[in-house]
């Protein structure tokens, strides 16, 4: 690091970056505004769609609420219960009440967890962020390392092994991967705990959570690794063959400098976009992994709220997930703008 900042190139590099930010500030603002204009009505419409679909679905919220007790309830009692619980309101009324509460900052009450939806988020969101964040970071790091190593020698033994393994892992459904890793690492080898975020009855300690995090995070990272890895490998392979890299080699730069200064910067931009575009897959993967590992996160609550037809929680989760995907793709495009000067903002 010191060697670089002391060199003359560093002073040269500082200026273009500032100019880049100044040039792109307006473009970024425009991009964000454009996305907001599309995104906010889309989220509103989507939340309405959740209520409409739930209403049209063959599932009766009262039956979900009563479970086995439904069998012991008479028709009159069902009517009275539906009225008292608010299940008999038309879907648009329920949706409108939900939107009104939302605008007042009230996310509603989750019946399946018997607490306010905002508390469900407060209790579970950190766990989901920890798991998905760790998994995504792990996947990106591993993709960069393996992808770069494979891309530097396309067609080599390492490249063939990495590419084939990547395709194979991509073909395995996440829940199979999750159940398989539980069986092998937790039950047979006993290297890691089977499920949860802490030993039963123990408080959540940093060491304990780290130990419980390894298996689900590695599993989730594995489900996300193949596409990131293959993208990096392709980008690196292309960059390695480019004139800029050949010129750098010709100037006698060390291989490490060539990779760090010339290959990686060009390969990072596609990775940023693809990470943004693949966020929905991370969310889906997290739902399955959290369910199998009994991770106390928000993704597990998606399953619970859907099974129980817990509308306020289901709508909030759907809208929040969609918002994450929209914001993720905005951030990815913004990163692309900053990373690659050739990109315009016509999107």
């Amino acid at each position: 690091m010191a060697a670089v900042t002391a060199g003359p190139t560093a002073r040269g590099a500082a200026r273009p970056r500032r100019t880049l930010w100044r040039d792109r500030r307006r473009a970024l603002g425009g991009l964000a505004l454009h996305r907001a204009v599309v995104g906010v009505p889309m989220l509103a419409g989507l939340s309405g769609l959740v209520f409409l679909l739930a209403d049209r679905s063959p599932f009766d919220p009262l039956a979900a609420h009563l479970g086995a007790r439904y069998q012991q309830v008479s028709a009159e009692q069902r009517e009275s219960l539906s009225g008292a619980l608010g299940f008999d309101a038309p879907w648009w009324q329920a949706w409108w009440a939900w939107v009104g509460d939302l605008l007042r900052g009230d996310l509603g009450w989750s019946r399946v967890y018997a607490m306010p939806v905002s508390e469900v988020f407060a209790e579970r969101l950190p766990w989901t962020l920890l798991l998905s964040g760790t998994a995504l970071a792990g996947a990106v790091l591993a993709a960069l390392l393996l992808g770069t190593a494979a891309g530097l020698a396309p067609g080599g033994a390492l490249d063939r092994a990495v590419t084939r393994t990547g395709v194979l892992v991509q073909a395995v459904p996440p829940f199979v991967l999750a159940l398989g890793s539980v069986t092998v690492f937790a039950v047979l080898l006993r290297w890691a705990p089977v499920a949860g975020a802490a030993e039963p009855g123990e408080p959540h300690t940093a060491a304990g959570v780290a130990r419980h995090l390894v298996l689900p995070a590695v599993t989730l990272a594995l489900t996300q690794l193949p596409w990131a890895l293959l993208a990096v490998r392709t980008a690196v392979a292309r960059a390695t063959g480019s004139e800029a890299v050949r010129a750098a080699r010709a100037r006698g730069l060390t291989p490490a400098r060539v990779v760090a200064a010339h290959v990686l910067p060009v390969s990072l931009a596609p990775l940023a976009t693809i990470v943004g575009a693949r966020l929905p897959e991370l969310v889906v993967g997290a739902v399955l992994v959290e369910e199998v590992f009994a991770w106390p996160g928000l993704a597990g609550a998606v399953v619970g709220s859907a099974q129980a037809l817990d509308f306020p929680l289901l709508a909030a989760l759907t809208v929040a997930t969609t918002a994450v995907v929209l914001v993720g793709s905005l951030l990815a495009d913004a990163a692309y703008l900053l990373l690659d000067p050739r990109v315009g903002t016509d999107a």
Binding site: S74, L144, F185, A198, P200, E291, A294
Partner: protein, 536 residues
Amino acid sequence: MTRPVPTRTLLTGTALVAALALTSCAGPPAAGPSGSPTRIVLADAQPLGGYDPVDGYGELGVSPVFEGLLRPESTGDDRLPDLAPALAAAPPEPNGDSTVWDVELRTDVVFSDGSALDADDVVATYSAVLDPATASEIAASYSMIESVTATGDHSVRFTLHHPYYAFPARMSLGITPEEEITPGPAADSGRNRRPVGTGPYVLAELDAEQAVFEANPHYHGTAPQVTELVTLYLPDDNTRAQRMRAGGVDGTVLPPTAAATFAGADGVDVLSVRTADWRGLSLPAENAFASDGAARLAMNLAVDRDGIIEHVLAGHGRPAHTPVAEVYGEAHEPEAVFDHDPDEAARLLDGAGWREGPDGIRERDGDRAAFTLYYLASDSLRRDLATAFAAEMLPLGIEVDVRGGTWDDMGSHTADAAILLGGGDKPYDLDTQVYATLHTREEGTPTFENPGDLAVPGVDEALEDARRSPDAAERAELYREVQRAYVEHPTYVFLAFADHTYVSAENDWDSGPLVLEPHAHGVSWGPWWNLAGWRR
């Protein structure tokens, strides 16, 4: 574009993560619990929270946190438990025709929040259940109550709409302090996550993963020796089984087939507990075949109950001929059974004019011996039972079209289709076990009780007389009469009482007798139903 710094940070970061991953994998091996641990960790399939007695939590008097006026006291799962005073100071006193019940309360009981128990708390809890605004899920079970009033600081009077000797079975409802009763639906109440009761344990901690119950310092009874109970929520059967195998969990509830994989495993006991939880099918009144009494009797004779139990329930069940199980002792009629006799069934059908048609299915005057059998699509056990029943009827020339559905779908087919039902949700008295199931439909009868509204001669009268009779021997005779009448003119095909299966880590605790279980199961039942009574 020279930016080497991020890359180097990335590389260092990767090395760190890899090192962390390697070290954290080397955790302590999970050790199987042994001896008599004072903390018991159980994995349940039921979600955590929902600890509100107004909405039915611990309704039968089995809960770590709550107590009712009465509690079940068991000598084993092979007979009905006695209902013994818990918060009541003495057994409840009925008037001459069982329409007014007086209960004296104990005066030395304090809730876990420090407030003393008095009659107002009992009145408030029962009134909340009866109040339509709370939308209590169990209100239907208490519809016989006309009023509940405090007749003193520690005495309560229940006035009923009609004579009802079985009322003590409705006195195990958990009592919550009057101050905790709030307006609005019970499902939206804070009681679900902050239960305040008089039981041996208090809920000390509740998060997304687990509920921790600790000994209640205010408990009026003998302090429990198991001082901590941890309940985990693991909805997936496989995950619970794996967690049990990996150790660290003292017990869990599993379906019979999954529990069977633990048979012979070191340090793990597999337990099968008797229940009054029957499975069977109602028969449609608006179907030419099923509305014929001879056809209903023939189906009851043709079905191989033992075979179904062996194959569908992995042997964990007992044949059901009527909704009255052997565990009801004196009131059970051992003669009221259907012999497995397909030949006699065929003769009965021939005699009633149901002759085999060209496609092998019997017919009479243009009506086919065929009907639809609905089951709850989300319940795989009911699906398997329905399929097994249909397979046994086909050789006899009866076509049963098996179809999955939601409660909603089935509700609109109660008269024209058979429905695979489960029962025994309130088994601690024969009235709640059989009255609505066998009596012809009355105002307020639940949709799925006798859905076909078929009548058995003499049964309505016997059930009503039993409800009024104060004499236990006389009631037992009336219930035996009900069973004898039923097997002459069956209106359902009862198949089996399903045992509930649990796996439990071996320990040195004396956990006392098991208790006959209702339809509901989970880790509040099994060997842990009376955890506070475990002794070294």
